[in-house]
Symmetry: C2
Subunit: 541 residues, 2 copies
């Protein structure tokens, strides 16, 4: 059997455009002699529409899309992710108008449709609905029930959706016990570092323990804070990889199940992987929102240099405009480094000196600002200038904040935090440094080697205000990603005063993080919509 993998870049909510693309790929797959073509989870509406599911007409639009795909299935099998409903006993006298408009009167299913020759061969609903991290599926969906397999082209197929593959003694095992020879899994699995290896390890185990083959079809593309990395693959029933599709790229990929030989599973270099993920995240955020250009405030430091390098790869250097905005605290070196970075990246570069409005602001304040108050004025003026230039240019501002700073609140809200997207918000400082190194000569050496400084007061250095990144980053990872408590870290011998400082600052800056632009997720736990903390919070540990 020849199978086409329709690894599409769906645009959330753009149901008609997604469907047109799906139908095009079906035609391509037919031309390539495919017997079966498989698309990802929720391919018609993208992942995830969130509360769009509850908009009047949204479900109808998805079902019309499914009908178009059914009609396009002449002469080929098509498996595609969509949604379907079943009306529930309507609690008309329930009086809770809020929950009613939130879709409480219907059961909605995250569904795989299987068509051939314009006929429905079957449907399978997702059973295990994730609600952790960024997932909200229990908000919208009712779990599917039962187990089914489908005969097609002389084979027995077990179709399931994303999370259902991850469950031990779950849908895959039941389908295997009903005679499935190939599991077809439709996924919308977002990227984070080392996720590809986690997926293939699971695939090897799941196929071997059940003696089934697996075709895993993943979505690709950036959607706000997540990036779907594609990398669809096939495994044989002995746990050997037969095929892997390119990552971070849309396309139709074809595999002949009968004539595929096991191949070595290869894993990408971590930094290359992050780079591709962030570039796709930037490109899709900018493009899908109807923009072409971005604006970056270059400081001469490493964070903004890395954001400029990423943007320039993602959008082309012509679409990146960099602004250097010195004050009296800016060193000559910073100006030189900002300019050299822009030159090497081939992006436009401008200097806007903020000394005059800064001094004017200081003068009109009833009490002349000093200390932190004065330090905050500067980035806020820069943010105002960036937003004005972006307005004039129809461009989006990219925010240069990294995860270490964002965790500790080492930034100025409405200042260096402004922007439409924060590409490196989920990279600890040491990852930013590694990423900078990967750009080789494109980023001047001094940007990497000089001690980081916000240059908001004379002789300032980050390590005056923050623990050294070598100490801070691993602790943040344990606290933010591992949920380690202060008590546990104390037991492990971490300094108490250091922990008090980190825990206090983490907690105190929740309100700031709640007002940041979306960051692109590259870790199991990024700040953003996968991490829900109350702003008002009396818990100290």
């Amino acid at each position: 059997m020849r199978v086409g993998i329709g690894q599409i870049n769906a645009h959330v909510g753009a149901i008609e455009a997604n469907t047109t693309r799906i139908v095009e790929i079906i035609e391509e797959a037919k031309a390539a002699g495919c017997d079966l073509i498989v698309f990802p989870e929720l391919a018609v509406c993208g992942y995830s529409p969130y509360d769009l599911f509850w908009r009047d007409g949204f479900i109808d639009a998805c079902q019309q899309a499914i009908a178009r795909i059914r009609d396009a299935s002449s002469g080929v099998g098509v498996i595609v992710g969509g949604i379907d409903t079943r009306s529930r006993h309507d609690p008309a006298n329930r009086d809770n108008t809020s929950s009613l408009s939130d879709g409480a009167s219907i059961d909605l299913f995250n569904r795989a449709y299987f068509f051939e020759d314009g006929q429905l061969l079957g449907t399978v609903d997702k059973q295990h609905l994730p609600a952790y991290d960024i997932y909200r599926e229990k908000r919208y969906f009712t779990p599917g029930e039962g187990t089914a397999v489908h005969d097609f082209g002389g084979m027995t197929l077990g179709i399931n959706i994303c999370e259902d593959l991850w469950i031990d003694d779950g849908p895959t095992d039941l389908q295997a016990s009903l005679g499935a020879e190939w599991i077809i899994n439709l996924s919308a699995s977002p990227y984070y570092l080392r996720k590809p290896g986690i997926r293939t390890k699971l695939a090897a185990r799941r196929t071997k323990e059940n003696g089934v083959g697996l075709i895993y079809v993943n979505l690709v593309g950036g959607q706000d804070e997540v990036v779907f990395d594609g990398g669809s693959f096939a495994f044989d029933s002995k746990g050997r990889q037969l095929f892997s599709a390119p990552r971070f790229r849309e396309g139709l990929y074809v595999i002949d199940l009968a004539h595929s030989a096991p191949q070595r599973t290869s894993h990408p270099s971590e930094i290359e992987d992050i780079r591709e993920a962030l570039e796709l995240g930037i490109r899709d955020y900018v493009g899908k929102n109807g923009f072409e250009r971005v604006l970056i405030g270059l400081s001469g430091g490493i964070d903004s240099a890395v954001v400029a390098a990423l943007a320039s790869e993602a959008l082309g250097s012509d679409n990146v405009r960099c602004i250097y905005m010195p004050t009296e605290f800016s060193s000559t070196e910073s100006g030189e480094d900002a300019k050299a970075t822009a030159e090497r990246l081939g992006v436009s570069f401008q200097i806007v000196d903020v000394s005059d409005p800064l001094e004017s602001l200081r003068t009109i304040l009833p009490k002349r600002p000093s200390g932190l108050v004065d330090e905050n004025l500067q980035p806020r003026l820069r943010g105002t200038i960036l937003m004005a230039l972006a307005n004039q240019d129809n461009a989006l501002v990219l925010c240069p904040g990294n995860k270490s700073e964002i965790a500790m609140g080492y930034n100025t809200l409405y200042g260096d935090t402004v922007g439409a997207l924060a590409p490196i918000a989920d990279l600890y400082k040491h990852q930013v440094i590694a990423l900078a190194k990967s750009y080789g000569d494109l980023i001047p050496t001094r940007v990497l080697t000089k001690p980081p400084s916000a240059e908001l007061r004379p002789h300032q250095r980050d390590d005056d205000d923050l623990p050294a990144y070598e100490i801070l980053d691993p602790l943040l990872k344990r606290i933010v990603e591992g949920n380690a408590s202060k008590a546990r870290l104390l037991e492990d011998g971490v300094d108490a005063a250091l922990l008090d400082d980190i825990f206090r600052r983490l907690r105190q800056n929740e309100y700031k993080r709640a007002q940041l632009p979306p960051g692109i997720k590259i870790s199991p736990k990024s700040f953003g919509n996968g991490r829900w903390f109350p702003l008002t919070n009396g818990y100290l540990d």
Copy 2:
């Protein structure tokens, strides 16, 4: 039986302080001769800790709190909301580190504990876990199962939790069929307009149809974007109200079940109700976060005047500082009205003229700003000034945005949107006007009667840029709260060009709303965490 209702204002995460308060109220209740004292849902940890549930040690801390409460139950029955766990088959080889740290290896229950004399009489777990609107309970909790009733003081009690009361043919009905005479419902039910009437209507129906009495105990207090309004009550088995506790106030309220006569159900005036909710929301946000003072940019217009009036009632006029920041577009009337508002409210008032830094900013921009670019510079400078003054003063900035403006993006991100809290973000403009009127002489008449203007260009009026509020507000309500599609509104005869404009602006300003300070919810659907829309969104209807 004499029952104490412990209508407490729990501080999310402050487990020890909450528990101390609960134990104090138990002592008060004993002194008042109560046989039984009931506290709200999740009383020990507040509602809602969200991902704090997953912090190492959080569950232990909640269970230690429950043990303290058990020990305090000598000589009295105590029913209190907490949490408990049951470890699940640990999918150790599941390889999904993200979901593991998100608590996937335990079952967590939203539990009511029933103690007497230091002994556990029983527990009841919440069965129906809301996941719509602001609720995320399916993210954390496993549904309880089974039905239980408890004998106490010669009565049979059916204990259940919040949502479980709202379900037709649900836990309440089952408990009644097992002989419950009184239903005890522990709630953490957030306020929105007309919710009190919805609750008592439900209570009347539920008690009458099952022939049971009901004691409904609700949380009180502000927590970020929601306000719990208290207003606990009791109904007899004929659907008649026996008792109602004050709303928006913490306290122990005592009812003698045997000697209570039916009373008339009274409903608060809507505007008074909103006012009390917003005042409590402001007071608790400021106080629970360790602040005393707020800062407001007064424009001379109605929105900031109302915010100043609310803050002055909530915090005392000594704790409110108002700043008027004119530019060349500010009218004499605006300055007079701002000053008069501050004087009548008795709050401090200062003028900071932003003309100089504004002109300086215009000058340093590579291209002199005009149109919207220039209009955005002004509020951003004002935001910068407010934040500087707030830093100097250890105060929080209150943001004056209303729901109509926020819906349409008629505001400047990082400008008039800055702040720690947006008290009137869930009020349509017509509700702001009604609220302003309720302050009588405290707000000068001209603030209410002059045509609204942002004063960012000569002779600007809101209705040049926006549909009239009389037309806009009802449409927004249908779209935002009712999820009405463009197609449906067209069918109802609404103008197509008007709808195109509203739908386009609603969608285009999702990114702005994602960066706003929390607003206080007073409607079934506020912008904020109860409404999840993708920023990148190709859905047009």
